[in-house]
Assembly symmetry: C2
Homo-oligomer: 134 residues x 2
């Protein structure tokens, strides 16, 4: 997200728009209207998809440099380093950007449950019973 005054005023607080992300990475991102990219979180060894979260540029910077996954919480409008409250943290193994720059694939080692419900993944409990291809 460009750091000019107009953008800053129209999006959010200084906390949201100030970031330390490498500009060579930032320029590859295609943010949504809220200044975010989607982050798919996958267990690195079993390849389970654990959850989908959202990152702004600073959350991605922290994820790339701290060894722990940080999201931007849309509901609370604040940074959310997964596990700081629950203990269910995510150790970073790799981060890849997709072809059009609006989604990240973050491979992690998940400690404990990924889902706030206590389930291993956020997708465990609501199978929509698709008709399979014949």
């Amino acid at each position: 997200m460009p750091q000019n005054q107009e953008t800053r005023m129209s999006t959010a607080t200084d906390e949201f728009t100030t970031h330390n992300l490498d500009p060579r990475i930032a320029e590859q991102l295609s943010h949504n209207e809220a200044g975010l990219v989607a982050a798919i979180i996958q267990q690195y060894d079993t390849k389970e998809v654990l959850m989908l979260g959202w990152m702004n540029d600073e959350a991605l910077h922290r994820t790339l440099t701290e060894g722990r996954v940080t999201f931007w919480s849309r509901s609370r409008q604040e940074y959310w380093r997964k596990g700081d409250t629950s203990g269910h943290y995510q150790s970073v193994h790799s981060v890849s950007l997709d072809c059009d720059g609006d989604a990240l694939l973050v491979q992690v080692d998940q400690h404990g449950a990924a889902c706030h419900t206590g389930s291993r993944t956020c997708f465990d409990d609501r199978d929509l019973h698709a008709e399979q291809a014949v």
Copy 2:
């Protein structure tokens, strides 16, 4: 998405808002501002994450009932049944909704490349070189 007139006028065309999705599923969805939910596409056996797409209610209905994955194309503002043009279609194995209703995990059998660049997945080419956890 509620089908009242106000919503229809404020979002998009009749094609976008008219849907056949089971109301018991539709009521569980938490759409973004554009009336969409994110759809993570995963190869069912190798567990590779292939791509991230977007679905409105009708795209999800078609995906659940046709055995093939259909997205809503945000750039073209039209339905996009993956593979109709490229031949690289996705056969549906399962569809699950996440805990807060704004993301789907779609397990598929991907025929050919998932990415429009010709890569197997959309995440193959841009590793962001994260520092790993110690």
